[in-house]
Each structure stands twice: as C-alpha cells, then as structure tokens.
C-alpha cells in the first residue's frame, strides 16, 4: 500500500511540476500576479510529493519488499541496514528519483527564500526549474519507474554491488547530485534573466549562493569518490580520468569559473553575458554528464545502465534545454549592457584570466572525453584517450592558475598597478622558491614534479597569508590587526580558505605522484621485509565470516626501527550473492604519509602476494578538498547572502570602529 501511495505521489509530483512550469511563466509574461504566485506552492507541493515517494521507496528497501523489481535487483535481507538505505540510490531508478527530489528541493528553497526577488523574476526562475523537473519526472516515470512491481517476487534479492557497500561511496552520489542539480538553479536564473532581459548586481548576488552551494557539494562529492577509489580499488589510485569522473569534473570546473565571474557581476556589473553563458554551460555539462553516465556510449569503469532508450531521452533533454537556452542567449545577450569600467591591470582582468583558464581546461577535458566517440564516427579510427593525455593536456592549466592566483587575489578592483600588487608578494615568492630548492636537493633523483608542486603550492598558500596580512593592515599593532581580521567579511575568509585548500590539494597530488614507493613481493607467514625504512611482518593469514561476505584477513605488523607503527589487517573479501571479490586495503593514515597494505592471492610455492605502498602526503589531497568546501561554506554564510540585495544595512554594521 505504501509503495502504491509512493507511486501515486510521484505522478502527482509530475502534475504539480507542470503547474509550476506553466502558471508562473504565463503569469509573468501577462502580468497576472495570481498565476505568478502559484509557482511557490506548486514547487513546495512537488517537493513534498517527491519526499513522500522517496520515503516510500526507502521503506521498500528497508522492509526488503522483493515484489519491487528495483529492490529485488539491488538488495538482500542479509545486507547491513546502512546499505539497505543507501542502496535506494545505488541504482539507476533510485538515483534518478533522488535527482528529481533534489531538483524539487532547490525549487522549493527558491520559493521560500526568494520572496524578496522581483516577483516576475522569481516566477520565471520557478517556471524554468519546473520545466527541468517535468522533463526528468517524465523520464523517470516512463523509462525508469522505480515503483515497478514483479509478478512473481523472488525469495531473496540479488544484493547491492559489494563495491557500493561502503560508507565513502554510500554518500558520494547524494553530494554529487546536490552539486549537479544545484547548477540547475544557476541555469534557471540565467534563463529567467534572459527572458526578462535584465541582469544587474542583484542578479549576481542571487546567483552566487546557489552556484557556491552546488560547487561545494560537487567538491565534497568528487573528493568522496576519489577517496573511495583510493582505499577500495586496492592500489591507491585517486583519479583515473575516466569518462564518468570527467563527467563530474567538467561541471566542477565550469562552476568554479561561474563562481568567480558572478563576483564581477555583483561587484562591478561587468562580464554579464559571459556569466550568463557560463551558468547555462555549467548545467549543460551536468546534463551531458548524466547522459555519459547513464547511456553507456563511452566505455567507463563505472558502466551504469547500458540502455539506448534512456540515453536518447537524456540526450534529448540536454539538447532541448541547451538548444533553447543558447538560442535565447544568442537573441538576448546583446542587451546585457556592462556598466563597470576597469583597466587592463585589475581584479576584473585577473578574474577574466581565471575564467579563460578554467573554461578552456573544462573544454580540454570535454574534448578528451568525447574524442574516442568522434574519432570513430567521423574518422573511423578506434582509439583511446586515457590518463597520459589528460595529464599532459590538462595540468598546464592548473599550473597557470596556481601561478596567477596570489597576484590576482591581491590586485585591486577597477585599476591597479602590477608592481604595487606584486611588492608584498616578494617574500612569499622567495620563500616558495627556497622550499622548492630544498625539495629538489633532498629528493634523490626523480622528476621536477615535486619541486614544482612545492613551489606552486606554497606560493598559493603564502599568497593567501600575504593577502590576509594586507587586509589586517601592515604596521598596525597586533590588537588592531586581530580585530580587523575578525571583522573581515566571511566571504573574504571563505575566499582565503578555499584558495589555501586548492594549494594543499595541489601539493598533495604532486607529492603523492612523485614520491610514492611501491613494493610487490611474495611473503610467507612470519616473514619480514623492509620498505622505505619500515619493517613489515606478515604475522598470519586467517579466514573470517562477515555479515554477507567471506574474508581472508592478514595480520601485518609495521615497525620503524625500534618503534611500533601499527598493526594492520588487510582483507580480501568475497560476496557470495553477487559473486564478486573485493580488496579491502589496510591503511595507516598519517599527516606526512599513508602506509597502504594489500593482501593478494596465495602463491603456488607457498606464501601470499603482498603489496606495500608508502604514499607521502596522500591525505593532503582530500584535506585540501575539505578545506575548499569549508571556504565555500564560510562564503555562503556571509551576511550579504542573508539579507536582501539593496536592503538597508543593519545598525550593527554601521557602528564606526572605535
């Protein structure tokens, strides 16, 4: 009964989405205030319906209702409760329902918090958002209905893919979807502004929080996925340039560009039409990503549903929304008149450079991702584009961004002078170069990767420190500086922290790539061996039973000289229901290095294959992502996002500094 109610709520949500599309858009063009006001309640109603449908599906999974086709295919009674719940979105249909739920959530938030928008703009935003909902809900209901029943329910389900039974991956999709779908808000605002033919500072201020939220969720989602790959795949890779990874990375890059260009719209009323274009493209890449992941046109490690019908539908959605928005853009973008004037050397120019680099980097990733398809269709060449291409073609853009960032962040708005902006950075530059030289001297042989990474990363982080020191006021006493730092807007702190996070991730990637130590060998029980100064002893190997798997567990003792470092238990698991083996690496996490142990197959001559990795600064990669996301959160909590654009300042802010 609950399932049927959920099914009904899903269909009702589609009906409400149609209302949310038609009434506000019609009302806004005819000036009917009643019709415009219908958008909010329709959005809220749609959200409530979808929340109920999602809860009903979750109930189906928790109660192991195998008469549901989806539950039978993706769950099992012996599965731990956490994974019964997260299994709801561990499949195509359930994840699409989550996607729709988040779409409705954003529309609902825009309805609740958007009351101080111009009514016509809010109505149009909700209308466009409703149109996106309609397209995805029809896709869900007509091609991938999660509530489809089985005529003859099986006794038990066929279990969730064991690789997905992991906390890191369980929460990876919701964050990614919050990001992907969050970009739909930026899209809706862009299209609404194009229809209105009006983009001003208030628009920039309105678009920013949504983009910021989407970007920070994408950051967390991508970091979770990468962290999961690191510990789950058995050899500690963290990024593969796989089409599906690229599908999440392209929107991230464009969202990062949009984040920066919308600042220019907000503060200086320039770059308007470019920002609109980015907002359209960011969501466009989300849609292309959905198509890549769910159509199976590109061979990927993460092959999701391989269904041409679904692929065609998703391609149609992407084509309609992108085609429509870009046509509208072509017709209307000329009307966006820029107001702010700025010189060649200015913060605005630096942000333009940031945008060019990020956008072209995203374009490179896009070309590399689709090239195998294009080459086969257009030139009849069957070829591969893999990590070596992306490493070569993409990395220079990140290097350029890291090199320009500290200078750009210090340049004043409107018009600046390079020498004046660069002067305070002299110390940071010298210190970074010293650090690079030190790294170069201490490493024995090896590439220039680590020294260059160290120089750029410390340049970025020290640049942030210099920026903050400048804002605190040079030559003032300590108390004044601290007070001034404390009163800096949160957006400024967010910027500093996010930039520092970028530096940390940058260094982590370079250091790990350059300095990783690997050891592959056969070890017998009781045998010891040395890797990079650590002594590792394989104590014993035993069989074990988990709730829904069987495991081979090794006990390995790690010492460094006379010091005990850790006792680690790498596992090999076998999930009988899904008939799949998995590797559970044992990792001793550290700030300076991770020790990464993997137990392999028993060897013919006795002993076990054992892999040992020392991974320097591995955690810095994800720590940097978390720092970036924290910077995003801080910026999101800035008071200017909480008050209406153009509203009078609160009396507290007007009190002069004593």
């Amino acid at each position: 009964m609950i399932i049927e109610l959920g099914h009904f709520a899903l269909i009702l949500a589609l009906a409400l989405a149609v209302v949310q599309t038609v009434l506000p858009l019609l009302g806004a063009s005819r000036g009917w205030s009643g019709a415009m006001a219908a958008g909010g309640p329709a959005a809220n109603g749609q959200f409530i319906c979808l929340a109920f449908a999602f809860a009903a599906l979750t109930y189906g999974f928790v109660a192991s209702d195998f008469s549901l086709r989806l539950v039978a295919a993706n769950s099992h009674t012996a599965k731990p409760m956490l994974y019964k719940v997260t299994g709801v979105w561990g499949n195509h249909e359930g994840s699409m329902l989550l996607w729709c739920l988040i779409l409705a959530l954003y529309a609902s938030l825009a309805a609740i918090f958007g009351t101080n928008l111009r009514p016509s703009l809010q109505a149009r935003v909700l209308g466009v958002q409703g149109a996106i909902s309609v397209s995805f809900l029809t896709f869900l209901i007509f091609t991938s209905n999660p509530f489809a029943r089985l005529e003859i329910p099986p006794m038990n389900g066929s279990d969730l893919n064991p690789l997905l039974q992991d906390p890191g991956l369980a929460f990876h999709p919701p964050f990614l979807y919050l990001g992907y779908v969050g970009l739909s808000m930026a899209f809706s605002f862009a299209v609404a502004a194009l229809i209105e033919g009006r983009v001003d500072a208030a628009w920039g201020r309105w678009v920013r929080p949504w983009t910021l939220a989407a970007w920070l969720f994408l950051t967390v989602g991508i970091a979770l996925g990468s962290w999961w790959a690191y510990y789950e795949l058995g050899w500690g890779g963290f990024w593969f340039w796989d089409p599906v990874e690229n599908a999440s990375f392209m929107p991230w890059l464009i969202a990062a560009a949009l984040l920066h260009s919308s600042i220019v719209v907000e503060k200086r009323e320039a770059l308007k039409s470019w920002t609109i274009l980015l907002a359209i493209l960011a969501f466009g890449f989300s849609l292309i990503g959905a198509f890549i992941v769910r159509s199976g046109v590109l061979t990927s490690v993460h092959a999701f549903a391989n269904d041409p019908e679904r692929g065609v539908y998703l391609l149609a959605i992407a084509a309609i929304f992108m085609g429509g928005a870009l046509t509208l853009y072509a017709v209307r973008a000329g009307a966006m008149e820029a107001k702010g004037v700025f010189g060649l050397v200015s913060r605005e120019s630096a942000l333009v450079a940031n945008n060019v680099l990020l956008a072209v980097a995203a374009f490179v990733v896009f070309v590399g991702t689709v090239w195998p398809l294009v080459a086969e269709m257009a030139f009849g060449r069957k070829l591969s584009v893999g990590a070596p291409f992306f490493d070569m073609a993409f990395t220079p853009f990140m290097v350029a961004i890291a090199a320009l960032l500290p200078l750009g962040a210090l340049l004043p708005w409107k018009r600046g002078r390079l020498d004046r902006a660069a002067a305070p950075l002299g110390g940071a530059l010298a210190l970074s170069l010293c650090l690079g030289a030190f790294v170069w001297v201490t490493q024995t042989g090896g590439s220039m990767l680590a020294p260059i990474g160290a120089v750029l990363a410390s340049w970025v982080v020290l640049g942030v420190v210099v920026d903050l020191a400048n804002r605190a006021g040079r030559g003032k006493d300590v108390a004044t500086r601290i007070r001034r730092l404390r009163h800096l807007p949160r957006a400024d702190w967010g910027k500093s922290i996010a930039h520092a996070g970028f530096g940390v991730t940058f260094f982590g990637i370079c250091a790990l790539t350059a300095w990783q130590v690997e050891d592959i060998r056969v070890a017998r029980e009781g045998e010891s061996f040395d890797v990079a100064g650590y002594t590792i002893t394989l104590e014993d190997v035993r069989g074990m039973r988990g709730p829904n798997y069987e495991a081979t567990v090794a006990t390995m003792v790690v010492t460094f000289g006379a010091r005990d470092v850790a006792v680690l238990y790498p596992e090999k698991r076998f999930y009988p229901v899904a008939r799949m083996p998995t590797t559970e690496a044992a990792i001793d996490n550290g700030i300076l290095r991770d020790l990464y142990l993997v137990i392999g197959d028993p060897q013919e001559g006795g002993g076990w294959a054992v892999r040992t990795y020392v991974k320097p600064f591995a955690n810095w990669i994800w720590a940097g992502c978390i720092i970036m996301a924290m910077g995003g959160c801080l910026s999101l909590s800035d008071r200017r996002h909480r008050i209406a654009a153009g509203a009078p300042k609160s009396p507290r802010a007007a009190v002069p500094a004593e």
């Binding site: 993706n74 291409f389 090999k572 892999r611």
Partner: protein, 149 residues
C-alpha cells in the same frame, strides 16, 4: 527481454595488477616496463591500463612488454610492437597524427582564442571610458544628507 544492467558494474575488480612473479630482476628494466604499461590500454577492460588491470590479457601484455625489453627493444619499439598487433586502440595517449591533431590542438587553440577575445574585450573597455552620469539635484541633496549623518 531487455534486461538492463541496473548496477554500477565494475568489471575490473579487484585491480590487483602486477604479480610478484612478473617482476624483472633488473630494477631499471622493470621501471621502464611499468612506465610503458601505464600508457597501454587493457583491451578487454573498461578504460584501464595494463599495469592496473587484473585481467588475464593484461597480464599477457605485461609479460610481452617485459619480454621485448629483455631482447633489447627501446621503449618506442616495444610500444610500436604492440600497436602493430592491437592497433592504436591500445595507446592511452593517442598519437599526434591526422585527425588526432584536433584533439591535441584543441586546448592550445582554445586558450589562444580565449586570451585573444579576452584581450580584445579588455582593451575595448579600457579605451571606452564611460563618464559616470552627473548627479541630479535630488541626488546631490541626498548625498549631502548622508555625508552629514
């Protein structure tokens, strides 16, 4: 019946690539073998290089690479040997010949184009100085009031 694969299917799991018995005695040769392997695609896997893949074919290819290295082939000769047999599909880094130039030049050309457009736009802005509109009387009055407060 159209049976759709509903799950994320990771075909190449667990990636337990290079086995202890494959490793060559000469560490320099082994290092070269690893470098070469990382640039070659496992043909039966989904987007994995043969160094990481755990498929049998990948193992055969790894052994083939090592065999060629032992006979004294240079790195390019080893790669050419495999491309001869399996086609350019095996290369994870496509060559720069023919249509692939589009792939390789896309980034640099876009960057130059983007910088060119940006420079043009910025220069035009710089020269077209817009005079801020003069304040009318009412605004002047408001400004005075604000400044007095």
């Amino acid at each position: 019946m159209i049976r759709v694969v509903l799950l994320l299917v990771f075909l190449a799991v667990p990636a337990f690539a290079v086995q202890p018995d494959e490793i060559m005695d000469d560490p320099a040769l082994e290092e070269r073998a690893r470098q070469i392997s990382q640039g070659l695609r496992c043909l039966v896997c989904r987007n994995e290089n043969i160094d990481e893949s755990n498929a049998d074919l990948a193992r055969d290819l790894r052994l083939a690479v090592r065999e060629r290295l032992l006979t004294g082939d240079s790195d390019t000769e080893v790669v050419a040997y495999l491309v001869d047999r399996y086609g350019e599909y095996v290369l994870l880094r496509p060559d720069m010949r023919g249509a692939n130039l589009i792939l390789w030049l896309a980034g640099p050309v876009m960057l130059l184009g983007g910088l060119g457009i940006a420079a043009f736009y910025l220069r035009r802005r710089g020269t077209r100085e817009v005079q801020p509109a003069a304040l009318d009387d009412e605004e002047k009055l408001r400004l005075e009031r604000l400044l007095r407060d």
